[in-house]
Subunit: 187 residues, 2 copies
DNA sequence: TATTGTTATACTCTATAACTATA
DNA sequence: TATAGTTATAGAGTATAACAATA
């Protein structure tokens, strides 16, 4: 049973990367791996393979969540893709009969994307399964730790939203250690 | 300044999705968003745009971390891609002069992938920048919370590695709420 | 027989640039 | 002018299946 220990970085990490923080990088690496493991479990077959890419399924989920048809540019912006990519995504979904394009009643520049009954079935089937997997994945974490975890994550996101508006600091040069053969792939 | 609050799911969430856990889904959603925000900050230009995809850069990082040339199938397995995809990835990197294929000295089935000096320069420049961004992103989280966070993440990963070996439980049906127009996109 | 890697094929995602239609 | 969307073009990533070479 691999991968059940906390991933650590080497003791000389902060020597090799001036400006880095060992504990911070450990948090980042473990965050990434945990997130990947959750995704993998959610997508593990047989998940009644809907055969949709993450972006395509997310498009359906966004439409379901909105509870009403949306114009393409709104979906594109929530999905963080370009308008041309959105066109192509909607093309794919339309080909599979999961969405329909219909003209906006008043603004003739816009095209409203509607979920079809087939798509609604896909979403209604997938969402409960996804949330059930998540419930199972987190089930061994006590409720009090969940609140603590949420608060730590929010602290990080708040800091990131500040950083996003600032210029990037110059990076300091890597200091090479003497040659050795230990595996440093965790970095 | 958007997105600095903990993302919550609606109060009737566990009614709508039997078998789901509200706090668990909140953890999963916030984990995903935090992870995305870290990636976005790491990739924020001008990051001396190396122009490499995530997989391509990770391939270089894996080779750098190993400290020695590796056969393709080893990289493929760490990267979680097929051997054919690995061939295509190495093709791309070779075209850009970042890796070289050389025959394995003893096992003639294998091809060892070597980093070129150019690639080493890319990695030596990117890794310190990445770890510096991470240090900044986590900087407002007290050291004791970092350990707590790591431990919670490991608890989740341990549970996931157990689940991965088990059959998927049947999902219960979604219960539709009365129609309303609130935005439920956080799900 | 099993392992390693490649080729062939196909599809999706993604982006930029140029364009049309509408507001 | 600005907004919404499409088309054209291009490149990358991904997978499966069939195959060759080697162990």
């Amino acid at each position: 049973m691999p991968d059940i220990a906390t991933i650590r970085v080497p003791a000389d990490f902060e020597f090799e990367f001036p400006g880095a923080s060992r504990s911070a990088s450990e948090v980042a690496v473990n965050l990434a791996r945990t997130q990947m493991a959750i995704i993998a479990e959610i997508e593990r077959p047989p998940r009644e393979a809907h055969g949709l890419s993450a972006s395509a399924f997310q498009t359906l989920a966004i439409l379901d969540g909105a509870g009403e048809p949306l114009p393409g540019h709104v979906i594109a912006e929530r999905l963080l893709v370009s308008s041309a990519s959105m066109t192509s995504l909607v093309d794919t979904l339309e080909r599979r009969g999961l969405v329909e394009r219909r003209p906006h009643p008043t603004d003739r520049r816009k095209v409203l994307i509607h979920l079809t009954p087939d798509a609604q079935r896909v979403v209604d089937q997938q969402l409960p399964a996804i949330h059930a997997v998540i419930a199972q994945a987190i089930s061994t974490l006590p409720e009090s730790d969940r609140e603590h975890l949420l608060s730590s994550l929010t602290t990080i996101r708040a800091r990131l939203s500040l950083l996003a508006g600032q210029p990037l600091p110059p990076a300091k040069a890597r200091r090479r250690r003497r040659a050795e053969s230990t595996d440093r792939s965790a970095r």
